[in-house]
């Protein structure tokens, strides 16, 4: 088996595993469908925006939950945004923790919120690493002269 075919197979397997483990859902496929010759970097661009957005929101959430008197409406608004953007790129596990987080906000449950925040930070870190690995593999494949079939 030549190098390119091997790389293609590895990329496919890696991508499959991300779906199987629930890191990504079908929305990620939808994103890939929107990428073409006129928008060759579409997925990377949108996912990069997600990373920036998520990091900003996680910072805000940490700050909000450190306050003496927590503004739950503010916390909820930030979680709502994160839920939306993670859903839009197909980051399923992050989205799921956001849903749990929102429930804790509604109950004004501080402990629950803090726990959720930790969980989101973990899930976000995981999906970020996985997506960065995915993009790296794609780049290497293109560099070797291969392509990805969509």
């Amino acid at each position: 088996m030549d190098v390119v075919t091997q790389m293609q197979r590895q990329l496919l397997q890696y991508t499959s595993s991300l779906f199987k483990e629930g890191f990504l859902d079908d929305q990620f496929n939808q994103l890939q469908q929107l990428q073409d010759e006129s928008n060759p970097e579409f997925v990377v661009e949108v996912v990069t925006l997600f990373f920036e957005d998520a990091e900003r929101l996680l910072n805000e959430l940490s700050k909000s939950l450190e306050q003496e008197s927590i503004d739950f409406r503010r916390v909820d608004a930030h979680v709502h945004q994160l839920k939306g953007s993670s859903s839009s790129i197909g980051a399923q596990r992050v989205q799921r923790v956001c849903i749990a987080f929102k429930n804790f906000c509604e109950q004004q449950n501080v402990e629950g919120c803090l726990k959720s925040l930790q969980e989101i930070k973990q899930e976000y870190s995981l999906v970020k690493t996985k997506l960065e690995t995915l993009f790296k593999m794609e780049k290497q494949l293109f560099a070797a002269g291969g392509s990805v079939s969509r």
């Binding site: 661009e45 949108v46 839920k83 953007s85 859903s87």
Partner: protein, 173 residues
């Protein structure tokens, strides 16, 4: 006259989330729509020419098919529901209350599946309610709403032409 087939539809997209604006814009452009995306209801109203202090004393000398005080030709508005300051529902109401804008079809998008919310919007005149994340299959549902409003305009012209043809037939008979 074939106007409907050749003209490109102009969609105004409203969403406070940058990622969602980018997504909806890409989805719409893939369907060959011309897109303008704004991040708030107030910016949308401004774009549509519906500003509180707007003076409507300047009327163009020609009369276009649409209401004459509209410089911007928007064929459909698609808006997020949850937005700070002005929700998609508030925007929908303002559009339906406006003489010049009420005939523009409006579609609402929301990440939350709340039946009472959906019904409220549909009752207020929204054509469709899409659950986020919006997909290509949702965007494909837009064309009939756009064609409906185009046909209304063109239909009136066709009637006039048909009458003339019948008149001529009678004369020649």
């Amino acid at each position: 006259m074939g106007l409907a087939a050749e003209a490109q539809f102009h969609v105004l997209a409203v969403d406070d989330s940058l990622i969602d604006r980018i997504l909806i814009e890409r989805l719409l452009k893939t369907s060959s729509f011309h897109v303008t995306a704004v991040d708030s209801g107030s910016k949308a109203l401004k774009f549509l020419g519906l500003v509180e202090e707007e003076q409507r004393n300047e009327e163009p000398s020609f009369v276009s098919q649409k209401s004459h005080n509209q410089d911007i030709d928007v064929n459909l508005i698609i808006t997020d529901y949850c937005m700070p300051e002005m929700t998609g529902y508030d925007l929908l109401r303002k559009i339906k209350e406006s003489k010049s804008l009420k005939d523009i079809p409006v579609v609402i998008m929301s990440s939350e599946n709340v039946p009472s919310r959906i019904n409220r919007c549909l009752e207020e005149g929204a054509e469709e309610f899409f659950l986020k994340p919006v997909q290509q299959s949702d965007v494909n549902k837009l064309r009939p709403h756009l064609l409906k409003s185009k046909v209304k305009e063109v239909g009136e012209e066709d009637q006039v032409i048909n009458l003339s043809r019948n008149d001529i037939k009678e004369i020649l008979a």
